[in-house]
Symmetry: C2
Subunit: 242 residues, 2 copies
DNA sequence: CGGACAATTGAGAGACTTCAACAGTCGTGG
DNA sequence: CCACGACTGTTGAAGTCTCTCAATTGTCCG
């Protein structure tokens, strides 16, 4: 990969991303001219919650975690995003303030687009607004399911659901799943402590026939068995797609 | 109040609702002509999850609960809405299917607007799309906070936070808060069992100086005391506004 | 007044967390 | 090349929070 910030490189990247797909050449050029590619090291903070917002970001590679911190010093992970995902866009409305913090949990590459440029496009380009709206709407549904899962699913079920989603996003159809980041981080992502994750994964292994865990790879016999166990406590038509 | 479905009545109502506020007279007329006011009895179902969507709705009065049901027969309450809130709008994108069920938990009145009419407006009227986008964006942030609360707050804190939000939406500034609906329903809304709610409210009463509970009214000495206790485990700059 | 339902209370079980100890892995520096 | 330390991950025991089940009280309405 290439670390350049050249307009052409960015344009090429943007074209592959769903939300920008329907943009005309002019629009893409406009974004590309003002955007730049930012390589990030593990642990690097991109912005902090309640900070005045300047850019929104698109993930090119790696994993970005969105989180908030409380007065107590507790951390709540809101989401962990990878390629094609947009973040920082919540600052577009209201007071142009980020509503969460963002940090690279990996070696990452992101495209930074000035909020003002994006906002101008939203204000003047109706087609683009519609595709943005559609993506926001999808994100909202995803969040909705997230909330439901926290209420209804047990820790082992939540892990199962997480694995199913990982599998759904894979290119191949093998029943071997590789965990994308630290177990500690997955635990936080699923709203549980590392110890609970470890024990819950153990329980899941017992409950699901033919499931084998070796470090960060998980082998399954039948995906269906995992879905039967995990999706029992979920309202969506299983298996869950979000 | 008046149960008529006349265009003028609906237009009058719509004009008072933030998302429609910036609509031109023509747009309002277009909505009003196709919309109708629907009175609802307590317990009446408006639509079910996964059903093909026909209308979206605006709450005029009463409380509408949005929920989903799992294979197990468990129910997850997603939100409980009142005056000015929009629902059913998640069906605008994707497959025009409702992503949750909606039921009146009260005597309610709602305005039903055909999805097709709303969608057409979204597709052709840029100013309207922007104001819709802004409202969706706000809803998303609210949901975000909801998720955080479920992870970080204990049951008594969640109740405290709920009370603070009730107070923030009140017209007057009295420190007497009236619960808007059944305690059982509030419990479900906050993701806990009625028994837990009862005990948690008892605990909250003990923890917060000067708090008195009499049936469905709650008296407070200082709002600040409640916020200090509840917002400790929350990331937002207290008190929470969502 | 009685029935239906909301709300409370108690006891015990279950899920998750906390604290603490320990095993495994990886990279660094001697 | 090995030893050390830092870090991730696992395991045990005890504690906390919430849920479940069951019994009881309170309240509203016919």
């Amino acid at each position: 990969m290439n670390y350049s910030c050249s307009t052409d490189t960015i344009k090429q990247y943007l074209q592959t991303i769903p939300i920008f797909k329907e943009c005309s050449n002019d629009v893409l050029s406009s974004f590309s001219q003002h955007a730049c590619i930012k390589p990030l090291k593990k642990g690097q903070v991109i912005f902090l919650s309640d900070e005045p917002a300047t850019h929104l970001y698109v993930v090119l590679s790696g994993w970005i975690s969105l989180f908030r911190e409380t007065e107590d010093g507790e951390q709540a992970i809101i989401d962990i995003l990878t390629t094609d995902a947009l973040f920082g866009d919540t600052a577009l409305f209201d007071q142009q303030i980020y509503s969460y913090s963002a940090e690279a949990s990996d070696e990452c590459k992101v495209i930074a687009i000035p909020l003002s440029v994006f906002k101008k496009e939203i204000e003047t380009n109706h087609a683009f607004t519609l595709s943005f709206l559609s993506s926001i709407s999808a994100a909202r549904k995803k969040q909705d399911m997230e909330l439901e899962h926290r209420i209804l699913q047990t820790a082992p079920q939540r892990i199962g659901c997480f694995l199913l989603k990982l599998h759904a996003n894979k290119k191949d159809d093998k029943t071997v799943i590789t965990l994308p980041y630290d177990k500690t981080l997955i635990a936080a992502r699923l709203g549980m402590k590392p110890e609970t994750f470890s024990r819950a994964l153990g329980k899941l292994k017992k409950e699901v026939d033919g499931m084998v865990v070796k470090g960060s790879t998980i082998e399954l016999n039948e995906l269906k068995d995992l879905a039967t166990y995990s999706c029992r406590a979920c309202s969506s038509i299983s298996p869950c797609k979000t």
